[in-house]
C-alpha cells in the first residue's frame, strides 16, 4: 500500500512534542509564573504522584471509563449510521438530532447525566459515550452515502444479493470516512472522560485535576493533563495502526 507520510511513524510526532517540551522549559524558566511551572517541575511532580500511589488507581479508573464509553459509542454509532443509510425515514428523523448534538456544547452533557445517574461512574462513562457517538454516527452515514454504482453493478452482475453488496462493496468503500470518525471520536472520548470526571470529582484523573486545581498545585494539575494527552495520543496511534494493518480497512482511493 502507498506509504503516506501522515499515516506512518510516531517519530516525527515524538520529535515535535520533545521540541515543544524544550520550548516550555525555557519559557517557564525565563518568565516564571505560578501558573506555568517548568516542564521539569511537572515531570518531578508526576514521579512523586506515581510513587505516592495517587495516579495509577485513578488512571485505571479513567481508562476503564474511556474503554467502556468508547466501545459503546462505536457500537451504537456504527449501528445508527448503518441503519440510517438503509432506511431513509430513519435518516430523515435522526439527522436533525445528530446535527443538534454535534453542535451543542458538550459540557452540557455531564450535568444532565448527573441528574439521571448521580455521582456514579455511569455518569462518567455516559460522558465519554455522548462525546463520541454523534461524530461516529455522522461520518459512518456520510461514508455509506457515497455510492459507487460501477462497483455495485459489477457485484450484481456476479450474482451478489443486496446484503452481499452492502457488506462486500458499500461497507469497505465507506471505511476511510468511518476510520476518520473513529479517530476524531476517540479524541472527543478522551475529552468526555476528563469532562465527566472533573464534574463528578470522586474518582478518575479528572477528579485529581479538580482536587489539585482547588489547591492551586499547578505542577500536579499539569502532570495529570500530560498523562491525559499521552493517553489521547496513544489512542490516536492505535486507530492509525488498525488502519494500516488491514488493507480492507485502511485503503484510500
Amino acid at each position: 500500500m502507498q506509504a503516506d507520510a501522515y499515516a506512518t511513524g510516531w517519530q516525527p510526532r515524538a520529535l515535535s512534542l520533545a521540541a515543544g517540551a524544550a520550548l516550555w522549559e525555557v519559557a517557564a524558566r525565563l518568565a516564571p509564573t505560578s501558573f506555568l511551572p517548568p516542564f521539569s517541575a511537572v515531570i518531578a511532580a508526576l514521579v512523586t504522584m506515581i510513587q505516592q500511589g495517587a495516579i495509577l488507581a485513578n488512571l485505571a479508573v479513567s481508562l476503564g471509563n474511556l474503554a467502556l464509553g468508547f466501545a459503546g459509542a462505536v457500537a451504537v454509532g456504527l449501528a445508527a449510521g448503518i441503519a440510517m443509510s438503509r432506511f431513509r425515514r430513519l435518516a430523515m428523523v435522526g439527522e436533525p438530532y445528530l446535527t443538534a448534538f454535534l453542535t451543542a456544547p458538550s459540557l452540557v452533557y455531564v450535568p444532565v447525566l448527573f441528574t439521571i445517574f448521580g455521582a456514579t461512574r455511569l455518569t462518567q462513562i455516559g460522558s465519554v459515550f455522548l462525546h463520541a457517538v454523534f461524530v461516529i454516527a455522522t461520518t459512518t452515514l456520510a461514508g455509506l452515502r457515497e455510492r459507487r454504482p460501477g462497483l455495485e453493478a459489477m457485484a450484481a452482475s456476479f450474482g451478489a444479493t443486496d446484503r452481499q453488496i452492502f457488506w462486500k462493496v458499500r461497507w469497505p468503500s465507506a471505511q476511510p470516512p468511518v476510520m476518520n470518525g473513529l479517530r476524531v471520536g476517540v479524541l472527543l472520548a478522551v475529552k468526555g472522560m476528563i469532562n465527566g470526571e472533573m464534574f463528578i470529582a470522586f474518582t478518575g484523573l479528572g477528579a485529581l485535576v479538580r482536587i489539585y486545581g482547588g489547591r492551586f498545585e499547578a505542577d500536579k494539575v499539569l502532570a495529570i493533563i500530560l498523562v491525559v494527552v499521552v493517553v489521547a495520543l496513544l489512542c490516536a496511534l492505535a486507530v492509525d495502526a488498525l488502519e494500516r494493518r488491514r488493507p480492507s480497512i485502511g485503503w484510500r482511493a
Partner: protein
C-alpha cells in the same frame, strides 16, 4: 445459445421527464462458441443491450433467452468485463479475481487455487498481492478478464473492455483475448465502437443503428481462425473495414440530414 427478439427499452429522462427510447426492436441470435461483436455509434444503446443480457436491466418488451430460458437476472452462466475495470480497490489481485467465487461461497483454498491458475493464464504472474492502484490499466483489465473467467461462465459479456487503454496495450490485450478464445471457445458478446477491433476479433459483427437502436446489418467475418497477427494486412480485412465505415458514415449523414430537414 442467446436469442433476443424484438427487444425494446426506453429510459425516463429525469430532466425532461420524457421517455427516451434506446433500443427499438433489436433481434439477434448468438450461437454457442461464437464471438459476436456489437458495433455502433457512441450512445446507440450497445451497453444497454449488454446489460439486458447480463440481467442487470429488464427490457420493456420483447424476449431475451439463453438456451431457451428467459433471462430474469444475473446468473452463473454469464461473466462480465467492464470498460472502467470495476475492480475493488481495497482487495488484492487474488481477492479481486476470486470475487465471483467468494459471492458464491466457494472455500478459500479453492478460490486461491483457481485464481492462481488464471493469474498465469492472463499473464499476471508475480502480481498476486498487488492492489489495483498499483497496476497499470492493461493489468487491471487482465484482472477483470480473469475475474469473469473464474466463475467458468458459458458466455463472456464484454463492454468496450479495451476502450480505456492506449493503443499498444489494447492491441496486446486483443491478441491475448484471441489466444484465450482459441483455447476455451466460450461464447463472447463484445461491445465496441472500434471497427478495427470488431473485424479483428469477431466471427460476426452486428451493426446497430444510432439511437433508438435496431440491427442495421449483420456481417460475417470470413477471416481465418486462429487470426494471424498480421490479419489487418489481409485484403479481406480491409474490405470489411471499409464496408462497415461506409455504413457508419451513411448513418452519420442520415442523422445530420434529418437535423437540417
Amino acid at each position: 445459445m442467446i436469442e433476443i427478439a424484438a427487444c425494446r427499452k426506453a429510459f425516463l429522462d429525469p430532466g425532461t421527464r420524457t421517455s427516451a427510447p434506446v433500443l427499438d426492436g433489436v433481434d439477434l441470435t448468438v450461437r454457442d462458441h461464437e464471438f459476436v461483436c456489437v458495433l455502433g455509434p457512441s450512445g446507440c444503446g450497445k451497453t444497454t443491450l449488454l446489460r439486458i443480457l447480463a440481467g442487470l436491466v429488464r427490457p420493456d418488451s420483447g424476449s431475451v433467452a439463453i438456451n431457451g430460458r428467459p433471462v430474469t437476472g444475473p446468473g452463473p452462466d454469464r461473466g462480465m468485463v467492464f470498460q472502467d475495470f470495476a475492480l475493488l480497490p481495497w482487495a488484492d489481485v487474488v481477492a479481486n479475481i476470486s470475487f465471483g467465487l467468494e459471492l458464491r461461497g466457494v472455500g478459500r483454498g479453492e478460490r486461491e487455487a483457481r485464481a492462481q491458475a488464471l493469474i498465469h493464464a492472463v499473464g499476471l504472474g508475480g502480481f498476486e498481492h498487488h492492489f489495483p492502484p498499483q497496476l497499470s490499466g492493461g493489468m487491471q483489465q487482465r484482472v477483470g478478464l480473469a475475474r469473469a473467467l473464474a466463475i467458468e461462465p458459458e458466455i463472456l459479456l464484454m463492454d468496450e473492455p479495451f476502450g480505456a487503454l492506449d493503443s499498444q496495450t489494447r492491441r496486446g490485450l486483443q491478441e491475448d483475448l484471441l489466444a484465450l478464445h482459441a483455447g476455451n471457445r466460450k461464447t463472447v458478446v463484445f461491445v465496441t465502437h472500434s471497427v478495427d477491433e470488431a473485424v479483428r476479433l469477431g466471427d460476426r459483427i452486428v451493426l446497430l443503428t444510432s439511437r433508438p437502436a435496431r440491427v442495421e446489418e449483420i456481417v460475417s467475418v470470413d477471416l481465418p481462425r486462429p487470426r494471424p497477427l498480421d490479419v489487418a494486412a489481409l485484403p479481406r480485412f480491409v474490405a470489411l473495414k471499409e464496408h462497415l465505415w461506409a455504413r457508419l458514415r451513411r448513418q452519420a449523414h442520415g442523422r445530420s440530414e434529418g437535423d437540417a430537414g
